[in-house]
Amino acid sequence: MSQDSPPVAVMQSVPPNSVGISLNACIKCNICVSYCPVSEVTDSFPGPKYAAPQSERFREFGYPYFQDAAGSNPPAPGRGRVPDASVDYCSGCRVCNEVCPTGVRIAEINARARARIVAAEGLSLRNRLLGRSDLLGRVGSVAPALANALLHHPLSRRLAAVLFGVAEKAPLPRWHNETFSRWLKRTRSRRLRSERKVVYFHGCATQHYEPFVGMAAVLVLEHLGYEVVVPPQSCCGLPLLSNGEFSAAETYHRRNVAQFADYVQAGYPILGASTSCTLTLKEEAPELLDLEGDEGTQALKRNTWDIFEWLRERENQGQLPADLGSLNNGQEPFILPYHAPCQLRAHRIGKPALDLLALIPGIDLRESHARCCGIAGTYGLKSEKYQIAMDVGAELFDFAAAQADTSDPAVQGAVSFTACDSETCRWQLEHGAGLPSRHPIELLAASYGLYDLQARQPLNEN
């Protein structure tokens, strides 16, 4: 895939949006610094306050995005130079946004600063590839077994580390032998048709690596009596945004806006099980790409829901079927350590998965209060950041391990799974804690008797 047209003056062609203006709200209180999980474990990142509202005052507004088409307007000496490298060590976890008492869009200011670096200095092949999760997914899905053998061979991982800087031990996913869309197509005749419809946004991970998460979602939604519509769709663009490729991300986003326009107009809710994809549709793309004034973007944003956010609404309306069953035949409490990913917290909707999982009979939910698992999308995959990500995640890994420690009498039983709403966080959690991890929708589907939690496949289908 060729590089999209070079970054142009997309962002700067309009007055500063809420992201830019928000730097004015910083009162330097340092609360973000004391919560930042990254600056706590590494000196490479000096902290959210330093990197965002503070450094932003030293970055020239309008540069280097602006360049005369003919190159006839070269910047004056010094102008347009990118003064800061450390901003690239922000993982984008948004813990800072969450704790900021005055509403500074810290993580977004950092994302923009990174985009500025990319615009000025270009992008490594690694970051370009990591940003294109849909492309990687599609390539591997042509021959998943071969792709897995190639990618996961120790020698290739060594090579990838040396050549591209992809950390040798970092948790990379495996391609599934059937994509989510192919499963949908194959089981078309068995899918529920109904007047009541929802649209499902599957995202790249469900499409290529974990189609079973999408299957569980479809089964649960159908169990509620909804027909699940899955239109053609693009990557939400988040990996591109986090790697600083804003113009390519805008192309994806605009494609999604067009592809969902009819459904949005018809009033169908757009549901997603990946908290990062839905956050991007709701907030990240509109804000970072200065599309807050764009009508289609706004409509899509208004109609997009995290799947559990929407299910909790059904529960509040008394529309959630009550036939939830125990997950281990009622033998003993089903202990489930649950981690709410950073991106879910950024939705500012509470922890809807936790609310609904609590309805499962015999469940013993153990909520993690760790700030972040460390992976932050593609951050922890990079060689220079792998150890930082693992150190950040230690808080969570220790928590999960403590729940599973059977030598501790307070633990009361075995732990088979952990749960987390975001795919990359689950991979990191499995990698760091050594326990299989599930999306809460898989647990809900299993509780309805629709899904095999161990084998990760629908029951009574196939």
Partner: protein, 620 residues
């Protein structure tokens, strides 16, 4: 009483005074400068930071315009590192549509001021926040100038040429000698405001470069100099709104200049005639006017976070017609000037007074030799003012020595023009993040220590002018207590070096500065030591255990009061929230308003408490 003998004594340590000392020392005169407070404490340190192209005055004050463009070109060479080459736009907003723009462009051409009209769309792409209603835009070589750094660089150049600079030395009297017919100024009585010591300086000639205080200095010699003091109020925004200097393309008025200077944009100014250069109050209507006019340049400016308001006072001079022939005019536009003077024989309003420099040779004007006043002018023309003054001094002293300042770079020019990101770039490349004392303006501990040890520091406000301490969003909220702690450590540390190899030119540079402190490195040739060092340098008062002003509580209270003074007039929105946090830190946690009773005052304590137009707004 201690006595000093010199050839030329300069009164005033602003841009003009330091410029005169530099010029005189370069011409080989024995030179002493006295300034009653810190260098640039007066108007120089309170201006918006605009290096004029002259275009602002092309239709109103051609003399000043010609002086400006000439000096603009020179300062870009001699003081390169004190200038950010922002360029300037003169914009025609919907309110400005008349024939002014065409006459403006023609006048620029006539006066040889480079002026290119560019498409409004191009200007808007370069400055996206600009008023989208602009119809025409002219691009001119305006720029932003750091007047603090420039004065320090000039002062250092003067020291290297042998001048002795004495800040915190207040002129208390001028001794006259001779009788009718050959009266002359022969000496000055000076008070060291830190130690209270008196000093007599015998001089062959005294140059009055006291800016807005010129009238007061002249009065000590029994000479009447009627200054027109034009108070200008300015506001700084939290962050830059543009990267180019913006001027309205119309007859100069209030609030029509927006200057990007370091991390902020400054909107200015008002022009109110005042009688006293000291106690400048800031009125609510002046703030409102700046915000209203600012919105015409950058819509939304009034809703942006405003950090601070301050006032400076222009030292304008208007010679009464009866004696105007004695004014020296280095840039000859006699027709314009004469006709304007005839049209307005009385003292004009300050907005209408010329910005051209005024040189008063009191031998010709008042029959008093050994005394010259240099005033009027702009920051942009300070070098020319110095040249004119020292030319006149040569004439009075009967010597002929050519001026060299136009082709003599001051220390630090090799750094090239500064740019907005330079501090961030240097902190990043040297990983100095953990050494930041003032996080807002990226002041490292070693910068602060260097400035405190090398410059005669009396208050933290002096350090603010040296390194921009406390000039950012929190207005001293987080750096004041840190800086006081650092000074206190220096004060009690017997082994502290006096940073002898520290370069004034690198005062504002985190990386350079740090290298200067270490073993000799690649930082370029070492600065030659000042030629005249009359006695071993005393420690800076702020870190001298023997000096009363080094009291940490005093340093803390003074700076909090000084910062508070500029915040009070704009206390709303984000800055109000900031001040509430600062208040919690200093009043609730540190109990700064109940520090152990101590009546000690610095020479500035009273000044920091003065000028409030709001009752009950004193912190301590």
């Amino acid at each position: 009483m201690k006595r000093i003998q010199t050839e030329i004594l300069v009164i005033g340590g602003g841009a003009t005074g330091t410029g005169v000392a530099w010029d005189a020392a370069l011409r080989g005169f024995q030179t002493v400068l006295v300034e009653k407070r810190d260098l640039t404490h007066g108007t120089t340190g309170r201006y918006h930071g605009l290096l004029h192209s002259g275009a602002r005055y092309v239709l109103k004050d051609a003399d000043s315009a010609v002086e400006c463009i000439r000096e603009n070109r020179i300062l870009r060479r001699t003081h390169a590192h004190c200038i950010e080459d922002t360029g300037g736009f003169f914009i025609v907003t919907p309110e400005d549509e008349d024939d002014y723009p065409d006459r403006f462009a023609a006048a620029c051409r006539r006066l040889d001021i480079p002026c290119d009209e560019i498409p409004a769309s191009t200007a808007l792409r370069r400055e996206p926040l600009l008023n989208p209603g602009v119809s025409r835009v002219f691009e001119l070589p305006d720029a932003a100038a750091d007047s603090f750094l420039a004065a320090h660089a000039t002062a250092q150049a003067a020291r290297q040429a042998g001048a002795l600079l004495l800040p915190y030395h207040e002129l208390t009297g001028l001794h006259l000698s001779g009788g009718d017919g050959n009266r002359a100024v022969s000496a000055a009585a000076v008070l060291d405001t830190v130690t209270g010591e008196e000093l007599r300086i015998d001089a062959d000639l005294v140059i009055n470069a006291a800016g807005a205080w010129c009238g007061q200095v002249a009065a000590l010699a029994g000479v009447e100099v009627n200054m027109i003091l034009g108070k200008g109020v300015m506001l700084a925004t939290n962050a830059r709104l543009t990267n180019t200097v913006i001027n309205r393309c119309k007859m100069p008025g209030d609030g029509d200049i927006l200057v990007p200077i370091h991390t902020v944009s400054v909107i200015g100014t008002t022009d109110q005639q005042v009688s006293d250069p000291e106690n400048l109050s800031i009125e609510q209507w002046e703030i409102d006017l700046m915000l209203t006019e600012g919105d015409k340049l950058v819509p939304g400016l009034s809703r942006s976070r405003i950090l601070r308001a301050w006032a400076g006072v222009r030292p304008l001079y208007h010679e009464p017609p009866s004696s105007h022939e004695s004014i020296h005019r280095p840039a000859p536009h006699p027709d314009r000037r004469a006709s304007r003077l005839e049209a307005k024989p009385a003292s004009p309003a300050s907005r209408d007074a010329t910005r051209a420099l005024a040189l008063l040779d009191h031998r010709q004007r008042d029959g008093l030799s050994g005394f010259i006043t240099i005033t009027g002018g702009k920051w942009t023309t300070f070098r020319l003012m110095a040249e004119s003054a020292v030319d006149a001094a040569c004439a009075q002293l009967g010597v002929s020595r050519p001026c060299h300042t136009a082709e003599t770079p001051v220390p630090g020019v090799e750094q090239g023009h500064y740019w907005l990101g330079h501090r961030l770039d240097e902190v990043e490349s040297e990983n100095r993040q953990s050494e930041l004392i003032c996080e807002c303006e990226l002041v490292t501990r070693s910068m602060l220590e260097g400035a405190a040890q090398r410059n005669p520091t009396v208050t933290l406000d002096d350090l603010r002018r040296d390194v921009r301490l406390g000039m950012g969003p929190c207005q001293g909220g987080f750096c004041t207590y840190r800086a006081v702690g650092v000074l206190h450590q220096l004060r009690s540390d017997e082994t502290a070096t006096d940073a002898a190899d520290w370069k004034v030119a690198h005062m504002q540079s985190p990386a350079h500065h740090h290298r200067d402190g270490g073993p000799p490195a690649d930082g370029g040739p070492a600065e030659p030591a000042p030629a005249a060092q009359p006695e071993p340098r005393r420690p800076s008062p702020a870190i001298d255990p023997a000096a009363a002003v080094s009291q940490p509580n005093l340093l803390l209270r003074d700076f909090l009061q000084e910062r508070w003074k500029g915040v009070v007039p704009i206390l709303w929105g984000d800055q109000l929230r900031q001040e509430r946090l600062d208040e919690l830190i200093y009043l609730s946690i540190l109990n700064a308003d109940h520090l152990p009773a101590d009546e000690r005052q610095s020479p500035l304590s009273e000044f920091y408490r003065s000028g409030f137009s709001y009752p009950g707004s004193r912190l301590t």
